[in-house]
Structure formats: C-alpha cells, structure tokens
C-alpha cells in the first residue's frame, strides 16, 4: 500500500543509508534503548495540562478552568503542571521530564480522525501516507532492535507498515489448547493474511507468559504491562499505547483531572516496571491537536489547534519547558480562537528519536516525515552520553 512516491523515497533512503550512514546508525551491537509512544486520542487540552499561569491573559482567557491551577506549584515563571500529574511532576523535578508547548502537527483543521491520521502517519495531509512513523522508525533501527508492539488488540495507524509488529492486550478468555493452536497453524498456512497474523500472535504469546492474569484493567496495569513487554532482552523495543477520552466538550475540569490521573499512573507504572532500564527509556506523550482557548457554554472546550507534548525518561534533558510562547491575548490566537502553533510536533518527535537512538537528525527526519516539507529536528532534547 505504498504510493509510488513514498516507495521511491524510502527505497532511496535505504540505499543511501547503507552506503553512507554514520557507523553508529547501524552499529552491530544493539543498544538497550526503549521508546514508548502514548497517544492521547481526542485532542487533549495542553492549556489544561501545562497551564501558562504566568501569561497575563491566562486567567481571563480560561475562566473557570483556571481555578484548577489556583494552588498548583509553578514549574517556572510561566507554567504550572496540573495537580493530578504527581509522578510526572517528580520526574520534572529530577530532570527527567521535558514539555514542549504550543506545538502542532502540520494538520490545521479540526477533525479528530484526520488529525490523528496526520499525527500517526507523519504526513502533511490526512491519508497522504499509508504507513505510520513509528513503523518507519523501526526500519531505521538495527534489525536486532526493530521490534515493535501495540498494547492493544489491533495495531494502530502509527505502527502499521512494512515492518511487522505485534499487538497484545490482556484477555480474560481461557487459553486455547496447544493441539488446537497447532491445527490452526496448519489451517492458516495457505492464507497469507491469517498466516502472518498467526505467526505474530504465537510469538507474542510465547513472550508474555502469564500476563493475562493482570487483566490490565486500568491505566497503571496497562503501563506495567507495557514495561513487561519491553523489559526482556529479546522483547519489543518500541511500544505504543492508545488512550482515549480526551475530547472534553463538557465538564472538562473533572473529566480531565481523571484522565490526567490515569495518564500519570500509567507513566509511573512504566518507570517502576522498567526499573534500571528507565535510564535507556524515552516516553513520548502527544495528541492530534489542542482545544479552544475559551471555555464553551458547557464547561468544556471545543476542537482547537496547538497543544502540549511530553518527553519522559532517564536520558531526557528534562526539567524544562520548551516553548516559543505565542501568548493568549485575543490578538495572538490562531483564527481568533486557538493556541497558536509556534513549533512543529514533527520536529520534536524527529529530534527526540534521533537523539535517543543515536541516529543523524536529518536522516531521522527524512525517514519519519518524508512528506512534511521543511521539518527541522529539535536538537538537544537528551543528555549527551
């Protein structure tokens, strides 16, 4: 399902990469790096996650929603983190959490489904590219590392593509008998689609053992599950976790607090679960677009443009918020209603993954965002080793 154009450009890249890439990109010894992408489906409100409380226009622009930050500790002169994000705040304090604000993908309309497609495919427009940037990231990594998994029953767009990936989600169904599994293997042998899926299912099953007992009923369990899938020496190196429920058109204050508490628990569980591997781990949290600056008539916010993203992990050069802050005064808003995007989310993703995996930023950018035009990878997001 490649368009001719993307096929040609990735093919060319692979050829150039093999011949001229810096040695480090294809170093023989695989590193221990782990990468987790947590997608916030539904346009999470960055202004209500990382609030610009130091902006003189903030309180008036946000009305009742500003109350939630009345007693929040400030991260710096401008920003305060939502009080529900306790684990995240501790990571920030320890220099292991970095936030990017007023960021956006190239998408500028306000459809969730198109916006998520742009975020996940890494294209410039919706449905322009048929595979996902996370899958293309796998193709940049040495083969030993190129194992991805979706913590979900099916593979989300960002992880779809030519590199095969697994998916796993806990199930309460009893395990099928080995004899039946063997016969299903035979039955699917002549069916290309089912054969490939079945191979993956069996490989994952062998890896996960008794994980089903956890039953991943809440965010923390899902985080712990992701950590267990990433931890083994022969486990996945890249995982994606889908979260929904961020589309807060009404009653945002209570709903978002519950959402953020769950996200925070998930992040905490990933760190705990990975233990010493946390130093080699990077977690990216991002959403398809932001929400309106003004509160709507039902205590919520509507679809907007720029939002905030998070990078967390032992190697992240954290304790900072990076933002070319556009301001919330009415004249500074995008289309007189949204937080104006002043930085490229693609640039943050490319810069973060390049630094984390030790790949040349230009090469990473070209692989992940081949259609996006002039994306500049944001540099210096990790501590130099």
């Amino acid at each position: 399902m490649f368009t001719r154009r993307t096929f040609v450009s990735t093919g060319t890249l692979a050829a150039i990469g093999a011949a001229f890439a810096p040695r480090i990109a294809f170093a023989a010894a695989p590193t221990e790096k782990r990468f987790v992408f947590i997608i916030q489906r539904g346009a999470a409100d960055g202004l209500h996650t990382l609030a610009p409380v130091g902006d003189p226009a903030y309180a008036a622009a946000r009305g009742a929603l500003a109350q939630d930050f009345a007693s929040a500790a400030k991260l710096d002169a401008m920003f305060a983190l939502h009080p529900a994000l306790a684990n995240t705040a501790a990571l920030y304090k320890g220099g292991e959490a970095l936030f990017a604000h007023a960021v956006a993908s190239p998408y500028r309309d306000r459809s969730h489904f198109d916006g998520q497609n742009v975020l996940e495919s890494g294209g410039k427009d919706a449905y322009q590219i048929k595979d996902g940037w996370l899958n293309r990231l796998l193709s940049v990594l040495p083969q030993e590392q190129a194992k991805g998994i979706a913590v979900a029953a099916t593979v989300p767009m960002a992880l779809r593509g030519k590199v095969e990936v697994a998916s796993y989600a806990p199930s309460a169904l009893p395990d099928a008998s080995d004899d039946l599994l063997a016969r299903v293997t035979q039955l699917y042998a002549g069916d290309a689609q089912l054969h490939a899926l079945w191979e993956q299912a069996n490989a994952t099953r062998a890896l996960t053992g008794d994980l089903a007992a956890d039953n991943g009923r809440n965010a923390a369990a899902t985080g712990a599950l992701a950590a267990r899938l990433l931890a083994p020496a022969d486990g996945a190196r890249i995982a994606m976790i889908e979260t929904g429920g961020w589309d807060t058109h009404s009653g945002q204050s209570g709903r978002l607090a519950a959402q953020l508490r769950g996200l925070d628990a998930m992040i905490g569980a990933i760190k705990t679960g990975l233990g010493p591997l946390w130093k080699d781990t990077m977690v990216l949290v991002a959403t398809e677009f932001g929400r309106t600056v003004a509160v709507n008539g039902t205590g919520g916010t509507d679809h907007g443009t720029a939002s905030a993203a998070m990078l967390l992990g032992g190697g992240v050069k954290g304790g900072r918020v990076i933002a070319d802050w556009p301001g919330l005064a009415p004249a500074n808003l995008y289309e007189a209603r949204d937080l104006k995007p002043t930085a490229s989310l693609d640039g943050v993703i490319a810069g973060a993954t390049a630094a984390h995996f030790g790949v040349d930023p230009a090469r990473m950018t070209a692989a992940l965002f081949p259609a996006a035009g002039p994306v500049r990878a944001v540099e210096g997001l990790t501590r130099s080793v």
Partner: protein
C-alpha cells in the same frame, strides 16, 4: 463463494443450520424488505431511561437543598461519578481493556464515605447499566432469530454510522433505545427521516453536547449576562457548543473535507441552538423552556440564537426550530452526502477500498430517489462488484460473534455473556469511544491478538456446543457450495467433532464474508 453463500454471509449475518440455501440470492435479499419487523418487543425506551436520569437529578437537587449545598470535594466526586470518567472505567484505554460501566464506588481523592449525592449517582449508573445490558441482549437475540438478516445487518450499519458511545452515565442507558427508536423504524424509509430521528433523539443530543448548547445572544444568555452584571448568579456562563453541528457535517452527512469551513460549523451550531431534551435541565427548565416529559425532543426558543444564518453560501432566514431543520434538509439532499453514504455502504458490503463503479451506482440511486433507502439497497444488490466470489471483508468482532452463534444454531444467548463476549473480542456494543463509530476495514480488526482471542472463544463455544453437531455437514450448510478445500480438510482431520467445530469457526472461510 457461490451466490447463495454470498447472500447468507456477506449480505446476511451468517447462515443458520435450519436455513435452506436461497434459490434466487438477489430476490431473497429484496424480499426481506416486506417481512422486516422494526419493533423489538420488551425493549427499554428512551422515555424510561430519561425518566431515571431526571429522577436522579431531582434527588441530587433535593439533597443539595437540604444540606445547603454539598462541600466542594463531594460535589466534584459526584460529578466524576456522573461522568463515569473514562480512565477509571478503562474506557480510555484500547478497546479491549474496556469494561462496561459498573456500580463501583468512584476512587476518590480521599477515602471519605459517600454522600447521598454520590450514592444517588452510583445507583443511577447501575440503572443505566441495566438498560444497556438488557438492550445489548435484545440486539443479539434479534440478530440470532431474525427472518430478515440483511435488513438486520443494515440496522447495525446505520447505528454505527450515526454512532453514540455509551461511555458516561448520561448516555449508557440511552444507547439501546437510540437504535430501537431512531434507527430501526427508519432503516427502510428515507435517509432524511432517519437523519431527523437521529438528531432529535436524546441519546445524540446529550452524547454530542447539543442539549446544553445556548445561543450567545439568546434570551437566556441575556438574562444570565444581566444577572452577572448585577453581581448575582454564579457558575458558568451559558454558551454555544459546536460538537453536534460539526459531527453532523463531518460524519453523518457531507463527510469530512467536503467544502464546509469552520465558519459553517459555528453557524450551523448557532442555528441548532434550542434543539434540546425536555426534563433534564438541572433546574431552570421552566425558565429555559425545556419542561415536559423527560427525554422528549423539545425546541426551547429561549436558548435559540436569533437572526438569519449563512451556511455553505446559503442563507437560512427561518425562525426558531425551522432554521436548523432547513439546514438538515439541505445536508440530507447534498451531493456530498450521497457520495459519502454510497462510499460507506459499498465499503461495508463490497471491499475496504470501495470500487468506484459500485459507489457511483449507489450514489446515483441516492440522488435520483431523493435518498430512498430501499432504492439505494437495490442498487447495491445490483452491483456486480458485490458478488465477487472472493470474500473481501474481514468480519468485525460483532459480525464474527453473531455468525458464530447462528452457526451453532442458537436463537438466544445470555445477556451478560453477550456483553462480555464483545468486550473480550474488542468491540463492546455501542461503545466505539468516538462519534465516528467503529472502523469498517480489516486493519482495525485483523490483529494477531484479536485472532488469538477468536480461537480461544471458538474453542470454548465448541466445547460447550451440542456434541451431535457434525462439523463437516455444518460447514456445507454455512457455505453452500463454497467451503474451501483447506477448511474441509482441517475439519475432516480434527481429533473430535468439537475440535472440528472450533476449526470451522476460525477458518479463513468463517473469518471473512
């Protein structure tokens, strides 16, 4: 596949062992239009679900009045219980991690005992959950026993096209009534009439926040502004919510990226103000003009934004309720809508990547008939692409479950078991988590873990099924003249009839339609 097998499996819901294979496959489909029974007896109604919500709101207000207002912490926890916060329910996670809303105490910020308000919220959620569970059971049993499986499939199609997601207390009890009242009676009518029934149903008005949307210059907003200016009245300023207006254009009618702008969305939202639900206002219903039997559609002039509107270059000068109705009429007949609906129908019945010729044929039928749905379905049946012998559609968990239970010859299946099965297979009924509904293409459903779950479920069903079933004969009944050699051979070699049945249920023939 033979035509008979295509009619039973691709257009129908999977064969039952007591179905005689249709002689004339196309005619078998069309004849169902005359026999379809829209009514589901014993189905919960929106009126009952809405009354329960209204009772809860009244109880909550009474408690507040008695206590002189709950403490802020309690109020917040009660609000959280009411919203059934997605993360705690697991609904925010991947679909497979979801659990239906259950009566559990909200994990609060502290361990204080529940207030009366919180208790009322918990009881309300239990009530909504009962309506939900009962409705899911009725939907499944209708699908198992129906003599008109093609029309039943169309009901499922339209309910997903106009999706509501039963994620919070306000919608969970209404999702079933939504399908029973707004979809079923209109599935063989005109698209326009279904559209109106859907957009006026309390489930949709509440799910997409329309019920509370207020025109910024409406009488009610002006009263609120005047009170605020006098320093009276606290709380939120009433205002516009554009959620439903946007999704009507993007999802229900025109389709995304079809020539409307952000300005059109906002204008349409203004036109829609006043379309709301009776009896569910939190006090002040009389003032807002939303009195009446809870759950009924009501137009409240006091919420309506005055003035003429311009949407997609057309003027709408109508007064009151007629304004949004005129916009909906325009959208229902728009060529982009015909194209959007045709594309989705062809995607559902023919292939993930819908063939252009079939789309064009169905689109033309839509436009020529003014959105007459049986005419549209006939055009679909007449499309040769829909009779391609290779099955192109990978079954969703719902389709696989229904066809599995039908294949086992069941006419009834336990209600909690139905809810649990769909949960485990990754497609909890009426809970797509988004107004776009469940995706209708293979990549969303053909995942490694998803296949493994079907194998696990198939083994469980087969073990419990009647041991008298001969899986070789059953395969021939389910796929008349079509069972593949690989499937036939795997079944013949199975170590037991039960294992053979499990293999049949997960065979490539059975996974697709």
């Amino acid at each position: 596949m033979t035509d008979a097998s295509i009619a039973l499996n691709r257009f129908g819901l999977g064969a039952r062992p007591d179905d005689a294979p249709p002689g004339d496959a196309r005619r078998w489909l069309v004849d169902q239009f005359d026999r379809y029974e829209p009514r589901v007896s014993g189905a919960p109604t929106a009126a009952a679900a809405a009354q329960a919500l209204a009772d809860y709101q009244q109880a909550r207000q009474a408690v507040r009045a008695e206590q002189g207002g709950a403490r802020p912490g309690q109020r917040r926890r009660a609000a959280m219980a009411e919203q059934a916060p997605a993360m705690e329910e697991g609904a925010a996670m991947a679909p497979t991690n979801r659990r239906p809303a259950g009566p559990r105490q909200v994990a609060g910020e502290d361990a204080q005992p529940m207030s009366d308000t919180e208790r009322a919220a918990v009881a309300m959620r239990r009530q909504g959950r009962e309506f939900y569970t009962q409705s899911v059971g009725l939907r499944m049993n209708a699908a198992l026993a129906t003599p008109t499986p093609f029309v039943e499939r169309l009901v499922h199609f339209w309910a997903n096209h106009f999706a509501v997601s039963a994620d919070g207390m306000r919608v969970v009890g209404l999702a079933g009534p939504f399908e029973f009242e707004a979809i079923r009676p209109h599935v063989l009518g005109r698209f326009r009439d279904m559209l109106f029934a859907v957009e006026r149903h309390p489930a949709m008005l509440m799910y997409l926040d329309q019920a509370q949307s207020v025109g910024p210059n409406s009488p009610l907003a002006q009263v609120a502004a005047a009170r605020a200016a006098r320093g009276q009245g606290q709380g939120r300023k009433p205002g516009l919510n554009e959620n439903l207006a946007r999704e009507i254009m993007e999802l229900h009618t025109l389709g995304v990226r079809t020539g409307y702008s952000q300005g059109d969305v906002t204008e349409f939202a203004r036109a829609m103000t006043g379309w709301t639900v009776a009896g569910l206002g939190r006090g002040g219903g009389r003032m807002a003009g939303t009195d009446g039997r809870p759950g009924d559609f009501v137009f409240a002039p006091r919420l309506h934004e005055p003035g003429a509107r311009t949407i997609m270059g057309r003027g709408f000068a109508q007064d009151g309720q007629a304004q949004a109705a005129a916009v909906l009429d325009m959208l229902a007949a728009h060529p982009a809508t015909a194209r959007h609906i045709a594309t989705k129908l062809v995607r559902h019945f023919v292939a993930d990547d819908p063939p252009a010729a079939a789309v064009a044929r169905v689109e033309a039928a839509f436009l020529q008939s003014g959105g007459d749905l049986p005419t549209i379905y006939r055009a679909l049946i007449a499309s040769p692409e829909a009779w391609a012998t290779q099955p192109a559609k990978f079954k969703t968990p719902w389709e696989w479950s229904v066809s599995t239970l039908r294949a086992l010859g069941l006419r009834e299946f336990g209600t909690p078991q139905t809810v649990g099965l769909l949960q485990q297979l990754g497609q909890p009924t009426w809970r797509p988590g988004s107004p776009a509904g469940w995706d209708d293409t293979a990549p969303s459903w053909a995942g490694p873990d998803a296949i493994m779950r079907r194998v696990e479920a198939a083994e469980r069903f087969a073990t419990r099924a009647n041991q008298q079933i001969d899986p070789r004969a059953r395969a021939a009944q389910l796929f008349p003249g079509s069972a593949s050699a690989a499937t036939t051979q795997a079944i013949a070699r199975a170590e037991s009839p039960s294992q053979g049945l499990a293999l049949l249920l997960v065979s490539p023939d059975f996974m697709r339609r």
